[in-house]
Structure formats: structure tokens, C-alpha cells
């Protein structure tokens, strides 16, 4: 059986410049900080980041923006990070804004083998520009396509050595969805327990979608 446990450095080494990354977290809560710091230390370039938001300049994904590692973000919110707005206005960072519920569903669709989803959110607003609309039972829906990534960098509270995952409170957010939606999923965990150490009823994400485990407890 393959040992999924790797160091931060080994995990980061797999990620090439220009990679498309999904990164978990909601304003930094539930973001794998050790992996984020690893990307910065390694000086990765031209990354595309799919995430809920760009957090704060000194926290989570915000640090990637401040260090200019990112060429494009697909997010629902950038209001808490002035650096994101600055780089967007300067033209060095492309920002695609997606309604939060639509973003969650596009990621879920990508991981669950769907081509996309139909949502009423955004109909009649600028969000519908360039998108196909479908009427079902008299109601209009936007076709929102699935999202996938080269790598998902996610954060869990606990894993066993197989990669069964348990998340903590509001640190769950996009993490379980992203775990399914990337070619390679790397999880940073606070606690690693023996196989069988997690009650099957308690598992939030099955090990089948987890490729690598990084142990760590960033504050």
C-alpha cells in the first residue's frame, strides 16, 4: 500500500509553475497555511487559484496575492484584501467573480463527474453575460460549467493514514468539495490517527479522493 504521508517540501515540489490550484478556506479559516507558506518559499509563479475569497493580506490565500504568485483568481469575494483589488486595477491579476453558492456547486460538479449545474442565481444580472440560459417549467436558469483543478490544497482536522478526513466546525467550507475536484488532492492535517481510528460514521470525505497527506499544525 502506498504511503500517502509526505513533507510540505515533497508536496510543493509536485506543483509546477502555472498550475491551477483549488485552495480551501473561508477568509483563511480552513486554509492549509503550511502549504500556502510552502508555495511562497518555493517561489511558484503564474498560479491560478480557485477559492472562496482572497482572505486578508497576512492570512491564507491573501499571502499568495501579496507575494505575486497568482495570475488569476476565481473567487466570490475580494473585499477583505486591498492588495487583490490593487493588482486587479493594475492589470497584473485577473479576477473572475462568481456567486458563492454557484462557486460551491461548480466545484462540486467538477468533482462529482457533472458537466455543470443550472442555477437561478445571477439570472438578469451581469453574471449571466456570455452564459447559456435554459427555461425549465417556465423558470430561467443559468448554465454554470464545472470547475476542476490540477491540485486541491485542503485542510482537515484529522485524517487516518488512508486519508479519511474529518473537518473542524467552520473550517470545513469548500474543503470537502475541492477534495473531489482536482487531479491531485493534498490535505494538510492537524492530527493523523491509525487506520480504523475514525468511526466510519464520522468521516466527512472518503480516502479515495485523497492522494497525499501533510502533517502539521500551523497556528
Amino acid at each position: 500500500m502506498k504511503n500517502k504521508v509526505v513533507s510540505v517540501e515533497q508536496a510543493i515540489e509536485m506543483i509546477p509553475d502555472g498550475a491551477v490550484l483549488m485552495i480551501g478556506g473561508f477568509l483563511g479559516d480552513g486554509t492549509p497555511e503550511l502549504l500556502v507558506d510552502g508555495l511562497i518559499k518555493a517561489g511558484k509563479k503564474n498560479l491560478t487559484v480557485i477559492a472562496n475569497d482572497t482572505a486578508f493580506p497576512d492570512k491564507g490565500i491573501g499571502k499568495l496575492i501579496v507575494n505575486k504568485l497568482v495570475k488569476k483568481v476565481i473567487v466570490s469575494h475580494i473585499g477583505t484584501n486591498p492588495e487583490t483589488q490593487k493588482q486587479m486595477i493594475e492589470g497584473t491579476l485577473e479576477v473572475e467573480l462568481v456567486p458563492q453558492g454557484t462557486l460551491a456547486e461548480r466545484v462540486r460538479a467538477g468533482g462529482f463527474g457533472l458537466g455543470g449545474i443550472l442555477t437561478p442565481t445571477g439570472v438578469g444580472t451581469v453574471v449571466e453575460n456570455g452564459k447559456q440560459k435554459i427555461t425549465i417549467n417556465g423558470k430561467e436558469f443559468l448554465v454554470e460549467t464545472a470547475l476542476r483543478a490540477d491540485f486541491a490544497l485542503i485542510k482537515a482536522k484529522k485524517a487516518d493514514f488512508l486519508g479519511n478526513l474529518v473537518f473542524n466546525y467552520t473550517a470545513r467550507n469548500f474543503n470537502p468539495l475541492m477534495a473531489f475536484a482536482a487531479n491531485v488532492t493534498i490535505v494538510e492535517v492537524e492530527e493523523l490517527v491509525p487506520v480504523g481510528g475514525i468511526d466510519p460514521n464520522e468521516v466527512h470525505v472518503p480516502h479515495a479522493v485523497v492522494d497525499y497527506i501533510v502533517r502539521g499544525n500551523a497556528k
Binding site: F26, L27, G28, D29, G30, N52, D53, A55, F56, V75, S76, H77, I78, G79, T80, Q85, M88, L97, P99, Q100, G101, T102, L103, A104, E105, R108, T119, P120, T121, G122, V123, G124, T125, V126, V127, K157, F167, N168, Y169, T170, A171, R172, N173, F174, N175, P176, L177, H204, K219
Partner: protein
């Protein structure tokens, strides 16, 4: 009209709180909407939902009791009340878009005569992103806009037609401001109540949309 903006905000929050019914599932936006939680009427129990994955959110913890993985949609530390649930973002927006949230209270930049809300961007000036606002307005059973009646400088926010990008084409249900309570009806904007220390002339002066004004308009049932 009420001169002190802090009292104005409190009046808005107190009045919105009267709309909450026992057992309601409620999502509060940031800013004035957040204040609503301080004025829940006696005997009414509501469940606060937060976009980042909570149903049953409680107030901020005592200093020293913050948990880094227990935050609200603004990133600030909160608590769980007994019976609280944590879940992922797809489930959170399943509640929101799926019509399982009874009331969403949001701030507003503009609301127009048709009840359309614009509250997520000012082109060229302020582009924070829509976050969960578009899903909330599209999916919640009842949408209440809680905002000051005018911008700084007295520019009306209730207008004939929104000039800012819309949040949704779904009409909002109720507008609560520091001057008035206005219901969005099939016939147009209906003036329901006027704030304390406020005259009908002031409401009309600071509203750029047509209002349906009944013969008698009661004062908001809130204390200053």
C-alpha cells in the same frame, strides 16, 4: 428625521427584529443587519444561518474563548448555540438557494420601484465581489433590505430604477430605513410606517421613487 446616525441604525435594527417569527431561520448580512441580533423580541427564538457553514450561530465569545475554526461569514469569532450544526459550502447554499432560509436581511446601495436591489458593486469604485448576496436574494423566502434612507450628502437610495448592477431580479419584500418601512407590492412601493421624529414630507423628499401613501401611515413601533 433622526439626526444621530447611530440612533438611526439602531432604529432600523430594532424595526427589522420585529419581522422575525419564532422558529425562523435567519441570515444577517454585515453592517446594520448584524445589529438585528441584539433586538430579538422576547419569546422569539430564531436560528442564525451563516454562509460559511453554520446553522445555530451564537454571539461572539468572551475574550480568550475564541476558536480559530469557529467564525462567521465576516471572519470574526462566534459561538455555537445548543443544537447548532456545521456543514460545507454546498450544504450552506443548498439551505440558501433551496428556499430553506426564512429571512435574509441585507444592506443596500440602491432599491428601485420594482423592488430590485443593487448591493454588491459600484463600477470603477468599489468591487468587493458578490459573496453570497446573489444566492441569498434569489433563494431566501423573505428578503429584507436594512439600510440608511439616503447616502452621505442626502442622495436617495430608493430610486426609480437601479443604476448600479443588480444583485438579483428577484424583488425584495421589505425595505427598512431610518426614515420609513416600505413594502414592495405588485402595485409599487407601499409606505407602511414612518420612523419616530420623522415627517411624511421628509420621507417623500428623500425618496426618488414613487410611493403609494395610504391616508394614515403609523409610526414605527420602536423606542429610540
Amino acid at each position: 428625521m433622526i439626526q444621530d446616525p447611530k440612533i438611526g441604525r439602531t432604529v432600523i435594527a430594532k424595526r427589522v427584529a420585529l419581522e422575525l417569527k419564532d422558529g425562523d431561520i435567519v441570515n444577517l448580512g454585515i453592517g446594520i443587519p448584524t445589529l438585528v441580533a441584539n433586538y430579538i423580541p422576547k419569546g422569539v427564538t430564531v436560528f442564525f444561518q451563516s454562509e460559511n457553514g453554520i446553522l445555530g450561530m451564537g454571539p461572539a465569545p468572551e475574550p480568550g474563548y475564541e476558536h480559530p475554526n469557529l467564525t462567521n461569514a465576516g471572519g470574526s469569532p462566534v459561538t455555537f448555540l445548543p443544537g447548532a450544526v456545521a456543514f460545507d459550502s454546498a450544504t450552506s447554499f443548498g439551505l440558501i438557494r433551496g428556499g430553506h432560509v426564512d429571512i435574509t436581511v441585507l444592506g443596500g446601495l440602491q432599491v428601485d420601484e420594482e423592488g430590485h436591489l443593487a448591493n454588491w458593486m459600484i463600477p470603477g469604485k468599489l468591487i468587493p465581489g458578490m459573496g453570497g448576496a446573489m444566492d441569498l436574494v434569489t433563494g431566501a423566502k423573505k428578503v429584507i433590505v436594512a439600510m440608511t434612507h439616503v447616502e452621505k450628502g442626502g442622495v436617495p437610495k430608493i430610486v426609480k430604477k437601479c443604476t448600479l448592477p443588480l444583485t438579483s431580479v428577484r424583488r425584495v419584500n421589505l425595505i427598512v430605513t431610518d426614515l420609513a418601512v416600505i413594502e414592495v407590492t405588485e402595485k409599487g412601493l407601499l409606505l407602511k410606517e414612518i420612523a419616530p421624529e420623522t415627517t411624511l414630507d421628509e420621507v417623500l423628499k428623500y425618496t426618488a421613487a414613487s410611493l403609494i401613501v395610504p391616508e394614515k401611515v403609523p409610526t414605527m413601533p420602536v423606542t429610540l
